[in-house]
């Protein structure tokens, strides 16, 4: 009976640490091919979470801008571009992994194509980043201007603005 209990205890402990063992295994597996798997997975997950959060927020801000001030639209556009920036980040991780695997001839993608994609990502990444932050700056300026001059227009449509559109 004692033996059975001992075995059961051992199995429970090993089961409890199974996720950790799995992660360490993944990491070792990655290191064999020259990739830090856990770091890559965390980066990929954070980029995907960034895509989800920014998309949801962009939708919320856009609906807010339709019922209130147009200044929310700037922030919404900034968030949409931020989504693209995150997608580029996730894509660059994919390219890094593919490049490492392509050196070991495990992937049927030509190195020339990979280099071309890498160049496109490297050029687009800082460009999108700059546009995102410039639009954010303009959006915040518009919001603070509206708050100081016509605070009621922040959450509701200005009548003059509505007439001007008509």
């Amino acid at each position: 009976m004692k033996e059975v209990l001992k075995i059961m205890k051992k199995q429970t402990i090993s089961f409890a640490f199974f996720p950790l063992l799995m992660f360490s295994g993944a990491n070792l597996m990655g290191l064999d091919s020259g990739i830090d798997m856990s770091g890559t997975i965390v980066r990929l997950i954070s980029f995907l979470l960034g895509v989800c959060g920014a998309t949801y927020l962009a939708a919320g801000l856009w609906s807010r801008s339709e019922k209130g001030s147009n200044s929310w639209k700037y922030l919404s556009i900034s968030m949409i571009l931020f989504v693209f920036w995150n997608i580029l980040g996730a894509f660059s991780i994919l390219l890094d992994v593919l490049t490492i695997q392509a050196t070991g001839n495990e992937v049927a993608v030509s190195m020339e194509a990979l280099n071309l994609y890498k160049i496109i990502v490297k050029v687009l990444d800082p460009v999108i980043e700059v546009i995102v932050f410039i639009i954010l700056l303009f959006g915040l300026r518009k919001i603070i201007y509206a708050m100081r001059t016509k605070p009621w227009t922040v959450f509701s449509k200005d009548e003059d603005e509505g007439e001007a559109i008509e």
Binding site: G39, V42, R43, I45, S46, F47, L49, G50, C52, G53, A54, Y56, L57, A59, G60, L61, S63, R64, K67, F82, N86, E112, N115, L116, I119, K122, V123, P126, V127, E129, V130, V132, F133, I134, L136, L137, L140, R141, I143, I144, M147, R148, F155
Partner: protein
């Protein structure tokens, strides 16, 4: 078609210029955010939406600064790369949480 490898110097210059613009924009945005929170201080009960908005925008600015400082720091010393990547990941996860919170509070106001 043979792809000519792009000059690495061009990428370095592009990244540095972009990082500088992002740092300037982030600092100016932070100043505006301080202005917004000052405007809101007049209100006795600060709305939950504005609180989330300020936290989310602060995280967004922090994200930009981390990315910009990271890309300049990596040019100087490549050993910084994993540190900045880890910081970027943590900030992105926090950004996700507050972006969801903010959009929920915006939805409540819109309804």
């Amino acid at each position: 078609m043979k792809v000519k490898p792009l000059n690495d110097d061009f990428i370095v210059v592009l990244n540095t210029v972009a990082s500088m613009i992002v740092i300037i924009c982030s600092v100016l945005s932070f100043q505006l955010l301080v202005g917004i929170s000052r405007e809101l201080k007049g209100l006795k009960t600060m709305d939950l939406m504005w609180k989330n908005f300020i936290i989310m925008t602060n995280l967004f600015i922090l994200l930009g600064i981390t990315r910009a400082v990271g890309s300049i720091g990596t040019i100087i010393f490549e050993g910084f790369f994993p540190v900045f990547e880890a910081l970027l990941s943590v900030t992105l996860i926090l950004f996700f949480v507050f972006a969801i919170q903010l959009s929920i509070s915006i939805e409540e106001i819109t309804e």
